[in-house]
């Protein structure tokens, strides 16, 4: 077992990650795999007054974010109660691909793993006027549908910056770190891509965008960085003053938390900004695909984008943003995402990343 402690919304949860994409990825780590069941982080049943059917959702998105959506969905479908199960994106992938778990909708921020589920034929097709209205880049065929677009951002603590000017791009960030090693030593946080699906996705897409990624990784690695499992942990560490900079944090989570504190802020990097798409699919084993389809349609419906934007606090699908900001890069849905899931490719990437980040 591989245990990590991480904080989420101020609440400490002891969580277990049984990482099993393939045993080969982690053959170097001492893990025993609990193959019988995937690890659930939390679960909640939203009951309806006159329950007639139950929609089962498996998601990597925290309950706090999805609750307004589910409530609103139940206003439209009052006879449907919703069972909402939260698991990490890797556990979620394992639940669907290996354990044939019984769910009607699967929501995950790990686009590559979602894409692999679709590619391996584990997702049903779904067609409706709502999903047809989605922009082409926010869906893959009739199987995978995005409903949010969330950037990976750099977070900085004003206290920790100690009067230094904020970097505008990755080149300036590299220079800033090189010029002030004492100030930032042990004060930089980023994802541990070995255990975080989102962190791995961000890092691999980052490496495709620019060579600066590897230079930045070298510099960060020389400053004894702290590695985290998830965005919320990084945000909390920044908040508590444990770190001064957090690289590749999920911007949507950050902006939701940081509004309350004026210390931490999102640093807009102008060279490029990666956007991850939170996607939903109907698993092939769903026993009620029509019901699942209604939830997909609810997420895809352009009338519900304001709800997602404002009440949920996640940026809804909006193609305009990419037209007006040339450096915003949405990660493209497609078989390209499968490349970094190749076991050899993944091994090589993690090795290169480890060589850069984990300097003795």
């Amino acid at each position: 077992m591989f245990y990590t402690d991480f904080s989420f919304g101020g609440r400490y949860v002891r969580n277990t990650y049984a990482l099993k994409m393939s045993a080969v990825w982690f053959c170097c780590l001492l893990i025993t795999v609990n193959a019988s069941a995937f690890e659930i982080e939390s679960e909640r049943l939203f009951e309806s007054d006159n329950q007639r059917n139950e929609l089962r959702i498996l998601s990597s998105t925290d309950l706090d974010y999805m609750e307004p959506i589910i409530r609103s969905y139940q206003m439209q479908y009052p006879a449907t109660s919703v069972l909402y199960t939260v698991a990490s994106s890797i556990e979620l992938y394992r639940a669907i691909s290996e354990e044939q778990a019984n769910y009607d909708v699967v929501i995950s921020s790990a686009m590559d793993l979602q894409m692999k589920l679709v590619n391996d034929g584990l997702a049903l097709e779904h067609q409706s006027s709502e999903v047809d209205a989605l922009p082409a880049w926010s869906r893959w065929g009739n199987s995978l549908f995005a409903f949010t677009q969330e950037p990976a951002v750099l977070l900085a603590s004003k206290r920790g910056m100690n009067g230094l000017s904020m970097p505008q791009n990755r080149k300036e960030l590299i220079e800033l770190l090189r010029d002030n090693p004492e100030q930032f030593n042990g004060k930089i946080g980023t994802y541990d891509i070995r255990e975080s699906g989102a962190g791995y996705l961000f890092a691999t897409q980052d490496s495709r965008q620019s060579d600066a990624f590897w230079r930045l990784s070298e510099v960060i690695g020389s400053l004894s960085p702290k590695l985290y499992c998830c965005s919320s942990a990084m945000i909390n560490a920044l908040h508590s003053g444990e770190i001064s900079l957090a690289y590749n944090v999920l911007g949507s989570y950050a902006s939701a938390v940081l509004d309350e504190s004026d210390d931490g802020s999102i640093v807009p990097l102008t060279d490029y900004q990666i956007f991850m798409l939170r996607t939903a699919l109907l698993p092939k084993r769903s026993k009620q695909p029509v019901l699942g389809g209604t939830f997909i349609d609810f997420l895809a419906d352009s009338a519900n984008r304001a709800l997602i934007d404002q009440q949920v606090g996640l940026p809804a699908i909006n193609g305009e943003v990419f037209n007006t900001h040339q450096h915003y890069r949405p990660i493209a849905l497609g078989p390209g995402l499968l490349v970094f899931l190749d076991k050899i490719k993944r091994k090589r990437f993690i090795k290169a990343w480890s060589d850069a980040l984990l300097q003795p």
Binding site: N119, G121, G334, G336, D342, I344, K345
Partner: protein, 458 residues
């Protein structure tokens, strides 16, 4: 099938159309299949090229290091497949026949020589049809060659969509081709059959006595038929001509002895002593006159029938001709104390066969005189009308007595009320015939106050 065929043979046009439509249908079907197969091959070739490029991109990144083959799949290797269609992508990389990454159960070709060029194949994988490429590369690892087999596959939904689209286009093309070809077949059939209709029409429109050869232009295929028809017409014409000649000869041969008989009878009448013998002789002379007149008209009729085959059209002065006819018959008119009133426009010139016209006019005036009561009046009128020229003769005689014109113009048929007057029943037939060959018209009507009006319009 055979019954249908027999049905269609009733009409040359339908038979031709049916065969042309059959050809068009076969060609349309061939067009449909050809377009489909060519387009499908093109789509498959295009898809294969991209699969090949993907596999090649992976192959180009193969390197050897520290005793093992290094594989680094480029991002573009798969993203290029996503660019053409939203199909699922599978891959498998084998090193010395051992799968080192990818989908282990992806089918790869059995032992074929694919070292030279990429090998493309279709297969079934995870309930889907796939199109795949396999590529082999030799990498030297520790001075020993290692065979690396790279297979990249994609489901065929994008291709199926193209195929369906192409099939629709090809079907539309085939149907369109058939419709156009069908329309053109119909037009072609009509234009091919038209000469037949033309010949039939030309024969159908002919007058009863028109026995000329068919001379309108005809297609060479119809020449034997028309020649045969012309031969038949010529034989008919000959027979008819011989009949007329025979009649003319006969009439001539009868007339001469009749003249002798009449002369002898008149001499005998002058020398006759008893009233009885005089009466007898007069009736003999009357019978001879009747026979002689019949013979003359038979002769005229024969002449007209003969001439109508070859009209001698010329422009001549009708006014003079009418005056001449009236002069020729004035003696007869005087015998009956008739008043002949001629209202003839001077110097009217018009085309026609002078001999035939004269014969017709003579018969009309002769009839009017013959059927007029003694001391009656005959009106003769020649005038120019819009259609050409009109000759009208009216008498105040006994009229038509209920007979209709159609009956009176039949050969040897006479009115019901004229048995007491010498006549052959040929006069009106001659006039009508002359009108016909000149494409004119002849009408015979009763006058309101008694009598008959005969009008010849040319």
């Amino acid at each position: 099938m055979k019954d249908k065929w027999r049905f269609s043979t009733n009409s040359l046009g339908r038979r031709l159309l049916l065969q042309l439509l059959l050809v068009a249908a076969v060609l349309s079907a061939l067009l449909y299949l050809a377009v489909r197969s060519v387009a499908n091959q093109a789509a498959i070739a295009a898809h294969d090229n991209i699969l090949g490029a993907s596999a090649t991109a992976i192959a180009e990144q193969l390197t050897a290091s520290e005793g093992e083959v290094l594989i680094d799949i480029p991002y573009s290797a798969f993203s290029m497949l996503g660019a053409i269609s939203e199909d699922r992508v599978f891959y498998r990389i084998d090193s010395n026949s051992e799968t080192i990454t990818g989908y282990e159960d992806l089918p790869v070709p059995e032992e074929v020589s694919i070292r030279a060029a990429p090998h493309y194949y279709s297969a079934q994988f995870r309930d889907s049809d796939i199109r795949a490429v396999a590529l082999e590369r030799l990498i030297t690892v520790d001075n020993a060659p290692v065979s690396v087999l790279i297979s990249v596959a994609q489901t065929r939904r994008g291709q199926d969509a193209i195929t369906a689209r192409v099939a629709n286009t090809a079907a539309a093309l085939g149907i369109g081709f058939f419709l156009v070809a069908g329309l053109m077949s119909w037009l072609a059939t009509r234009s091919t059959v038209r000469p037949l209709h033309d010949v039939a029409g030309a024969i159908g429109r002919r007058g009863a006595h028109d026995l000329r050869d068919l001379k309108s232009p005809i297609p060479s295929e119809l020449a034997p038929l028309v020649n045969a028809l012309n031969g038949f017409i010529a034989r008919l014409r000959d027979t008819l001509h011989r009949n007329e000649t025979f009649m003319a000869e006969a009439a001539h041969h009868v007339r001469t002895p009749l003249a002798t008989v009449r002369t002898q009878a008149e001499i005998a009448l002058r020398q006759a002593e008893t009233d009885e013998s005089r009466l007898t002789l007069r009736s003999v002379i009357r019978a001879v006159d009747e026979s002689s007149r019949s013979a003359t008209q038979l002769l005229d009729h024969a002449m007209i029938t003969y001439r109508s085959d070859q009209l001698a059209l010329e422009t001549f002065n009708y006014s003079d001709l009418v005056a001449e006819v009236i002069r020729g018959l004035s003696a007869t008119a005087e015998l009956k104390d008739l008043t002949v009133i001629a209202d003839v426009d001077a110097n009217l010139e018009y085309a026609g066969d002078k001999v035939l016209i004269e014969c017709a006019l003579h018969n009309m005036v002769d009839n009017a005189i013959k059927y007029s009561t003694d001391e009656g009046q005959v009106d003769i009128q020649l005038s120019k009308v819009e259609a050409g020229i009109q000759f009208r003769v009216c008498d105040a005689g006994r009229g038509l007595g209920g007979s209709v014109q159609r009956d009176l113009t039949v050969r040897f048929k006479r009115g019901l009320n004229v048995s007491d007057i010498v006549g052959s029943g040929l006069g009106l037939t001659i006039v009508e015939h002359v009108a016909e060959v000149h494409r004119g018209c002849f009408t015979l009507i009763s006058r309101s106050g008694g009598g008959t009006c005969a009008t010849l319009t040319l």
